[in-house]
């Protein structure tokens, strides 16, 4: 059974975490994640969620506590953003290397300095290589759905890796949207109790996190790389099962009116919905524009990307972060690398937009599409552009 409700993505996530019957929530408050953990605390305080809320003294300890709780076989959830995610950085690598199926909702926010509590993707882009499955939501429904799915995937014995659900700060965390909230029975029919393959157990003692001398370190990294790339199969499989169960379909890469498109724009996260509006308007004016929306960021779905882009001659990539002094846009550089060896590859135009909560209005997307057409006509690829920069 599902109920139609108006909820913030934050509250929606907390509500589904409750329906997932988690055992532990260990978290430290940080804007714009606060509503998630406040609501979970309330659910624990009211006895609706039979879990321990561990109010840690930092995000570093939040992720460390999560490692301890997951190591004994407790279903574990946490949430953070920006500086908090950066403070966890060290432990994120270890959580994935220990293969602990922790689920974390990241309320994407810009990194200091200057300090900014507002939305972009600089926090998660910095954590690209930590060995977690990373997925992006575009609205409250997706944030909730993907959280449920994350537990199922993380605990799949073929995967047994932590999962990060990214949902944009404020745009989603603090915005009330209509959504379908499944009940506990429906969620638990999809998500069976977790039976860890290995855990800390006094009856069958194991040592976790030993020293990796040069003789074995390389092999452990190879295994990690293999596991995360091979997780693609179970990801698609469990997303399909999710679709059968909840009647909502999610794919590693999604498109919007891309089939006959002359130019495509690649987006990630909540701003994709604004971009869809612009696509509709341009289509009405006769311009065949479309979108490629990256949902699964790690493991990166190369084949899905190639299929989605097809033979389109010009592909724009909108980044929400900057790789300073490097290839500028982290998503764009990834996509360029993905196409480097392909015979058929589009001209790739880089845009940086929406840094630190800067609005990206419809007109900015219009400018991006205009630039893509200009590139198509002149054949000249412009330098990476920061959209909406005040002169």
């Amino acid at each position: 059974m599902e109920q139609r409700l108006g909820l913030e993505a934050s509250i929606a996530i907390a509500e589904v975490v409750c329906r997932c019957d988690v055992d532990i929530v260990a978290a430290y408050p940080i804007t714009p994640q606060t509503h998630v953990v406040e609501h979970l605390s309330e659910l624990v305080a009211d006895g609706e969620l039979d879990a321990a809320f561990v109010p840690v003294e930092s995000e570093h300890s939040a992720m460390s506590v999560c490692c301890g709780t997951a190591a004994v076989g407790a279903r574990t959830f946490t949430s953070t953003a920006a500086q908090g995610l950066a403070l966890m950085h060290e432990i994120l690598f270890i959580a994935s290397a220990l293969r602990l199926p922790i689920v974390m909702a990241v309320a994407n926010r810009s990194l200091s300095g200057p300090i900014s509590i507002w939305n972009d993707h600089s926090d998660v882009m910095t954590e690209r290589d930590v060995g977690w499955v990373q997925i992006f939501a575009e609205n409250a429904q997706e944030a909730a759905d993907l959280t449920i799915w994350s537990f199922r995937l993380a605990e799949d014995r073929r995967v047994s890796l932590p999962v990060m659900v990214n949902f944009d700060g404020f745009i989603l965390t603090h915005t009330i949207e209509p959504m379908l909230m499944p009940d506990k029975e429906m969620v638990q029919a999809f998500l069976p109790p977790w039976e860890p393959l290995l855990k800390l157990d006094v009856d069958e003692p194991i040592s976790m996190g030993p020293v990796g001398i040069p003789d074995i370190y390389t092999e452990t990294k190879q295994v990690q790389q293999h596991l995360l790339t091979q997780a693609y199969g179970p990801i698609v499989e469990t997303l399909n099962e999710f679709a059968q169960h909840f009647k909502r379909t999610y794919k590693p890469i999604e498109t919007y009116r891309s089939d006959d498109a002359e130019v495509l724009l690649c987006t990630m996260g909540a701003l994709s919905e604004t971009a869809m509006e612009v696509v509709d308007r341009r289509r009405k004016q006769g311009q065949k524009v479309g979108l490629v929306r990256i949902r699964l960021w790690r493991p990166f779905p190369f084949e899905d990307l190639y299929r989605a882009v097809g033979n389109v001659p010009v592909l724009g990539v909108m980044d929400r972060a900057i790789s300073f002094g490097g290839p500028v846009g982290p998503v764009a550089s990834e996509i360029k690398a993905a196409f480097y060896h392909r015979e058929q590859r589009p001209k790739i135009v880089e845009f940086i937009a929406g840094l630190g909560g800067r609005d990206v209005p419809l007109s900015d997307f219009g400018r991006m599409f205009d630039s893509l057409y200009t590139t198509g006509e002149t054949g000249k690829i412009p330098a990476p552009t920061i959209i909406g920069l005040r002169e």
């Binding site: 460390s64 709780t69 997951a70 030993p210």
Partner: protein, 309 residues
Amino acid sequence: MEGMNVFAARLFPKDNRFVSGHRACQGCAEVLAVRLIHQILGRNTMVASATGCMEIISSSYPDTAWSIPWIHVAFENAAAVASGIEAGLQILMKKGRMPKRKINVVGMAGDGGTADIGIQALSGALERGHDMIYICYDNEAYMNTGVQRSSSTPYGASTTTSPAGKISIGQQTWKKNVTMIAAAHNIPYVATASPSYPFDLAEKVRKAAKVKGPAYLHVYSACPTGWRLDPKLAITIGRLAVQTGAFPLYEIENGKLKISVKTPKLRPLQDYTKPQGRFRHLDDATIAEIEKRLFEEYQKLERREGLIF
């Protein structure tokens, strides 16, 4: 050995959960403390270890010296990981997902992992009141990385980052009192202990395991390699540390302080500093200065004895 009580091995449980084959240095008193403590705690124990000597020497994959569940995550978070294990076990038992039983949850770290980089995680775990034992194995410097100073290094000790030189006596700050910092969290049990006093150590471990809530043990861990000490003196030096006031043994049970090994007249500090290369450069005046400070500290302990604080 002077003043050494008879060590009757048969008074310790035979069930050894930290087994031989590890890579500790000759004469390491820290690894001895680890073994003794886990003989007392027994099989129903889980350990979260910080990065450091004990982690490196005990867990080089595919070997392990631990025959109890053991986890190492990082350097500064042993207390946090242990608190997670405790919270996880409690909730799983409460929800009927595992059988109810008493499991000792131990967080362990060196003095660097406790007094310096791990103090925030430690304070958080103690404040939250987890039913766990935190053990600081204090060898008074970062031995694992090559004898760099920590905030637990004693005044005047020469280390690789507080070297004695033409214009320096070595460490120029006084040893941080982490035991009293732990006590300030109003936890039910706090104690200093030493493998040179095995029965006192065993008693304290038993008490720490018995209390409900956090317990903190600060264990003197002689390091012949880092202290430039003859390995055969590792136990003797621990007793001299107590007798000179360099490392007094006491416990604070429910706020009440008790000195465990009473030393009405402290021995001259020279007896303690002389065998150790790390203090060999100190002149008589500096030794006297340290002696005065240790005497005052010991008097402070005596004044506090029996008081509730």
